[in-house]
Amino acid sequence: MLEIFEFNIIKRAFLVVSFIAPLSPIFGIFLLFRKYAFFADTLAHVGFLALALSLFFKINSLVLLILLSIGVSISVEQLRTKDRLPAEGSLSFFLYSGVALSVVFITFSGSTGSIINILFGSLSTVTKEDVYLILSGAFVCGVFILKYYKKLISFCIDEELAHASGINVAVIKMLFATTVALSISISIKTMGALLIGSLMIIPPLIAMHICRSLKNTVIVSIIISLLSSYSGIFLSFYSGIPLGASISTILVVFFVISFIIKAFKFK
């Protein structure tokens, strides 16, 4: 079983998920708090566009992915705050634009075979160079969460309450939009554009189901995310299922188990 660790791509996969797995559910909790879970999907589809563009122009996909995701994330917040457009509307606009343009660029790039990797993630797509970018991105997101955790909670509960507590809501909003985009960008190659949302949203849902405090919800979400990611690598390696799909499937199993446990607990 341990021969799996002889492969560099597996070592890289373990290293990368060790950093993205704890971050994704924390951002997921904040997105759920803000009724913004759809945000993850939109950014993931914009990520799909970035990867399609990188195939077409043959440029570094991760840098483009990060820049495009951050640009869209800030634009959505601006449209919501300044132009008062409904959040779902502007998110849908970017989601469908992302998908439509991705298909156009992938078709013209002649690399339609890469679509599965882009959509569902892969053990092999993360290059050595990507690892440095992913770890740097994870470091930035991690520092942001540690520094602003309490302010983020307050901001997510109610923006006006946060303002009255002396929190600069406009700054937090922009930093949050930027780091959410960054965390999604650095996770897309592993999880895939279609499935990154599952690592952000399903662990908090499971934790919310069984925990009796926000602190425990965060801790349990991180543990579930790490467990499913590590076991997902094994599943992907031995079964050939794309990595994102493996991790998501394990999360779905955890979700069902949490319901069964709770059902027995209250019987």
Partner: protein, 237 residues
């Protein structure tokens, strides 16, 4: 000492004035009830004081500072009219709610805030498991946990039963009398606050009148404040 002052304040929304020529000076330790019909600008007034919105003309000062500058150094206790229901979907405990928003909060401040509203025994309870009145007390405890000098409450008695309301009023009275906190309460519940507030501000886009409840809550003023009404709410007082 002036806690809050508004000088010649105008605020418009989509080029319609919501507040016009507001001149107010609120002394430290005042307990002010703000009444007026729907759309009178009561909530807007609180949001101007908090610095969430800026006046289009005029000046708002908190202890001589702009609200944005004041709030950086000292939080203002605030209870908004509506709070997103999403918080009840999460397992947020009373203690976590009270602590939220404060970078560092001393344990004695937390205990004091919970004690004032008599919810210490609920500190580990999840918000969604509480009654409407208990939730309101939890949010009020959050508002006072930093021991602010100013407390702004936007319709704090909405959705709570008469017993909880009476308890809440007693607690606000204690905060004002014993701790010297300046309290501004926006309310439609004139009958209840007529006995509690030391001063009543009648607002209908402009300051209609301002003074002690027994002087203000008279038919002539109420007719000015609610010109289309024939039944005045102060009659329940």
């Amino acid at each position: 000492m002036k806690a809050i002052s508004l000088t010649n304040v105008y605020y418009s929304f989509d080029s319609i004035f919501v507040l016009e020529n507001i001149n107010l000076e609120i002394e430290e330790g005042c307990y002010l009830g703000i009444i007026g019909p729907n759309g009178a600008g009561k909530t807007t007034l609180l949001r101007l004081i908090l610095g969430i919105i800026k006046p289009h003309r005029g000046q708002v000062l908190i202890y001589g500072q702009n609200p944005e500058d004041y709030i950086k150094s000292e939080p203002i206790g605030y209870l908004p009219q509506r709070i997103s229901q999403t918080i009840y979907e999460f397992p947020v405990t009373v203690e976590e709610l009270v602590k939220s928003g404060y970078e560092k909060i001393k344990k004695e401040n937390l205990d004091w805030a919970l004690d004032v509203f008599k919810i210490s025994h609920l500190r580990k309870k999840i918000l969604r498991e509480l009654s409407g009145g208990e939730r309101q007390k939890a949010f009020l405890a959050r508002a006072i946990a930093s021991q602010p000098r100013i407390l702004l409450l936007d319709e704090p008695t909405t959705g709570i039963d008469p017993y909880s309301m009476e308890e809440l009023l007693k607690m606000l009275e204690i905060l004002n009398r014993d701790f010297g906190i300046t309290i501004l309460v926006v309310t439609h519940d004139i009958g209840t606050f007529a006995h509690e507030a030391r001063c009543i501000l009648c607002l209908n886009r402009r300051v209609v009148c301002l003074g002690e409840p027994q002087k203000i809550l008279k038919d002539e003023y109420m007719a000015m404040l609610y010109p289309e009404s024939t039944v005045f709410p102060h009659k329940n007082a």
